[in-house]
Symmetry: C2
């Protein structure tokens, strides 16, 4: 137990940014001011890269008003990194910590970041160096283990829901088939959230496909054709990680030269290839039908001014709780959220889970939230996702 | 002069929807209630298609609260149409009008819709049938002649600006080159509006390309390379109608099998082909640089809950003014806006222009708003566009 530990702090942000990732950063900085054990707060520029290069800014010097403005701003204010540190990289991080009397490390990111925090923690332990290491969760993919949900997800889900609501009205105006590609390499949580756009019986999305349920092109086209026959139109939400029944993602099948980042994650967002491929396949089977596709892309994680208030509050909470726990009896861990109550009674409490329990592996969209046909979510998913998103627009229809 | 004319009304919506097109519809319906010359208000389902098929809803029966909800809702509540009526089609429209004692026709759309209104008006005149015909402007492209600007543009510009603000922060987080494709087949007004996202010197967009200024691939790649050398990153906004110096749009060069609609407009939105093509070209010249692209797609015209208040008010005004003028001494025309004052003193007044003056032809982004290099807008464009958009997010930076 290192509760009497005094020393400097390093805080970093990692991986794909979210629109509320700076809420967590500001939560960390605010809480640091309340405890005497913390020295300087070194903000690492571009995550682990900034640590090994000793590129820091002193975050305790930022005025409260400026901190609030930063909290409202999408994407990692310190800069992010896609580096995935191996053991050697983690040793270099540790050496910088030792050199700068860093005794506290708060790392805000996804499962890869939790893994980095875990390795750095082990290196310090092996060296007999007192260091407290906390992972603060973040991902629009919502695929971290242990925690009920992840900061960043609720705001991304709010954007996707708004986008599909508007897009569904557009599709009512000029009828046809519309495919919307939503982020989510391996997990369908974000695509699933689009179910909130459906408020009337004939609203879209009419179909939702997630990576957890492989689908043949025949089923995909057949499902769309069925909806089109019934409504004269069809709005389809598709996770970018949609895959065939042989387990190979469609995007991989389309193109052999997809760029891979250092984590081995294939880069899917920002490419129109999947959208164009799926529309061409549907067109082959439904000639003469108006057919459009959009890839929502990076706006899903960076769109400002449409932040979910619940998500912003929880992201701030996870940051401040990491510091609060570090000032107390716990030496390391990942901040997790547990939910209590449904609907208006929804609230969360945080707890600390071992770094290893969150590191590396991810959590798919649960089976109970996917319908038997594998082309939509179950009603129970509404209870899960609705409390996490911001207010939805109140709309009106002219019934014909 | 047909000011004593009494009879039924047909109102229709046409072309690509906007997020405030229903404000104009509600402006029409509200104003109709104030004048005794108007009989039933027949809303045409899917524009001219609904007229020839005699598919109408009675809009005077809708309760005020429901009308307000419809006004707030993106995309044509009556349904829209891409049909471009020829003389024969217009004759059929006229026959339906005569059969149903329709004496007033309000058509909300772009330059094609103004042209339809113009032809129908001439057919009625030739037949000696008293009919008043008004065009209510609408287009996110902002490319109608005579009027200072078009309802729908301000809200689309608000979305694009928000999107680029968020995207620019994302690009600061994970540095590289980002290309954002914005709607605008022949006019760069919407792409130009992204200049509002640039508030600090190093903010994006760093480059803006519009169809009015053809560009070679060498210049395009060279411009990006220059910005990247200076800032270590580059955010580029590109109109979907970007074209080569031979006048051929890049999208046409990429693909020979682009779908054309009945207006002969090539369908560019919703395809990732241009984004993928441009990124591949940049990649060839800047190996190893992180390179991403998004196509903002249909969200630009349909995103709810981020409506420009000025745009909503003006769209409503154009609808109500069409009816007000029809109840008076004027027989036909297109409602146009003239602006007075700058900044906080901005206001508009409407006037009526001849249908033929707005029909068919469009208005490109003015020369005075494009810089000499053809890769950005001039400062004077700020004064033009800023009053039209909604509030922008207040953001904060950590300076490194």
């Amino acid at each position: 137990m290192k509760s009497e530990l005094k020393g400097n702090v390093v805080v970093g942000q990692s991986g794909g940014p979210t629109a509320v990732i700076n809420q967590s950063l500001v939560g960390v900085v605010e809480e640091l001011h309340k405890h005497e054990c913390f020295g300087k707060c070194l903000g690492a520029i571009h995550g682990v890269r900034g640590i090994v290069d000793e590129q820091f800014v002193d975050l305790k010097q930022i005025a409260p008003d400026d901190l609030e403005a930063i909290a409202r701003t999408p994407a990692a204010a310190l800069g992010s990194s896609r580096d995935k540190p191996d053991e050697d990289y983690c040793n270099r991080i540790f050496e910088v910590f030792r050199k700068n009397d860093v005794r506290y490390f708060f790392y805000n990111g996804g499962n890869d970041s939790a893994n980095t925090a875990h390795i750095v923690n082990e290196v310090a332990q092996q060296a007999g160096y007192d260091l407290k290491v906390f992972h603060v969760p973040k991902t629009i993919d919502n695929d971290l283990r242990v925690t009920d949900h992840c900061p960043g997800y609720g705001t991304a889900a709010t954007f996707v829901t708004h986008a599909v609501i508007g897009d569904d009205f557009d599709n009512r105006s000029l009828k046809g088939i519309k495919v919307d590609i939503v982020m989510g390499r391996d997990a369908g949580w974000l695509a699933a959230s689009s179910m909130l756009a459906k408020r009337e019986d004939d609203d879209g999305p009419h179909l939702i496909y997630v990576p957890e349920r492989p689908v043949t092109m025949e089923q995909f086209v057949g499902d769309i054709s069925d909806v089109y026959d019934r409504l004269g139109r069809c709005v389809v939400v598709v996770s970018e990680g949609i895959r065939d029944v042989d387990g190979v993602i469609w995007t991989k099948k389309i193109s052999q030269d997809l760029e891979a980042d250092a984590h081995g994650n294939v880069q899917l967002s920002g490419t129109g290839a999947l959208a164009d491929f799926l529309t061409s396949k549907v067109k082959e089977n439904m000639k003469g039908v108006r057919m459009r596709a959009d890839t929502f892309g990076y706006l899903q994680r960076s769109f400002p001014a449409l932040i979910s208030p619940v998500d912003a509050r929880e992201a701030r909470l996870c940051g401040s709780q990491a510091v609060y726990q570090a000032a107390g009896a716990i030496d390391s861990g990942s901040i997790c959220m547990q939910r209590f109550g449904k609907g208006d009674r929804y609230r969360v409490e945080t707890f600390v889970s071992a770094l290893a329990s969150v590191a590396a592996e991810t959590k798919p969209l649960l089976d109970e939230y996917i319908n038997d046909a594998g082309n939509y979510v179950t009603p129970s998913f509404y209870d899960y996702v609705a409390p996490l998103v911001g207010p939805l627009p109140k709309v009106g229809y002219i019934r014909k």
